[in-house]
Subunit: 201 residues, 2 copies
């Protein structure tokens, strides 16, 4: 398998999943905003010129949630996903999907305003609004994490999505000062050796 | 089951899935931006005060992708989801997740600027940028839909997500004039009786 990867991007989630699953994979390394992501060769793999992209034989996928669900379905032997009829299953789904549905749209806006746009086009008002919304959206995750180590019982695939987005939210300036549960969760994620390896591919 | 619903929201996707699956459900009706979504009673179901929310016995879910994956896993008897080892399975996942990962963040920004913000706080520059990005992001879906009626072979659960977002993109002002495949796909979706029922709950 080949993973098109950049540090500090959603590709870290995918590398982390592959590390936890013990999968063999090659890495093609880029940076966020890399001009090499805009070449016709790269766009043939991923039409929007972003990372991650996973190539597994005939299969090409370029959406982190899709890649992680795919890897778990084909390569986890049933581990890291709660049984469909267990009480943890809906919890797993809720927070797996909350990542891209609620957290990342605010993170995207923040990254656009603070990193991607040239200063003359960026807006401090919009950056501030995105940071405030990102912080607000994380309140529900902090409540959920009360008395929990991981999102849905034991460590699961939902942690790849939301764990990574919580860590990145803190680094990007979301205010976690009132979110004791989330700060502890982020530390727990960052302490995992597979997460550390994934951040440094 | 109880579905907290508003017309012209992501709740339509969920109602559509329930209609296609032939499930019995009650509807609690709201409107987008409804003050009744901000009450403590409603926030006990959904801390962010949005729709959809699904309540199924002890289970409460409030993310459309999670709800649809949940309904399919527990109530579809294996229909509407390609077999894990079929070539359609990764295709199904790719476009299921593309909806919230790529399309809806632009749609959210467009709705914020054109509907939710008061005129003195909204920005024509940002509305225009969101419309342009939304149109660009749909190019990959249009390419994918060449010679296809539905996203992943026969009609599947991925169509609930992306079919609804394509229909809504056109209505919100995305420029579909060069996307012949998408316009035909949107018409195919809108012609389904279950979709029509879901829009009018």
């Amino acid at each position: 398998m080949l993973l098109c990867y950049a540090p500090n991007s959603r590709a870290v989630r995918v590398a982390w999943a592959m590390e936890e699953l013990g999968l063999d994979y090659e890495v093609e390394r880029y940076t966020v905003g890399d001009r090499n992501l805009r070449t016709p060769e790269y766009r043939a793999k991923n039409p929007n010129g972003r990372v991650p992209t996973l190539i597994d034989g005939d299969v090409t996928l370029f959406e982190s949630g899709a890649i992680i669900q795919y890897l778990l379905a084909r390569y986890s032997d049933g581990s890291l996903v709660p049984d469909v009829n267990s009480p943890e299953f809906p919890v797993y789904l809720q927070w797996f999907h909350y990542t891209e549905g609620m957290i990342m749209p605010q993170m995207n806006n923040l990254v656009v305003e603070t990193i991607l746009l040239p200063p003359e086009k960026s807006s401090a008002v919009h950056a501030k609004r995105a940071t405030k919304l990102l912080t607000q959206i994380l309140a529900a995750v902090d409540d959920h994490m009360k008395d929990r180590d991981y999102i849905a019982g034991d460590f699961t695939g939902a942690d790849f999505m939301i764990g990574h987005s919580v860590v990145m939210s803190g680094r990007m300036g979301a205010d976690l000062s009132h979110y004791d549960n989330l700060r502890a969760y982020a530390e727990r994620i960052e302490a995992r050796p597979a997460f550390q390896r994934a951040e440094n591919k």
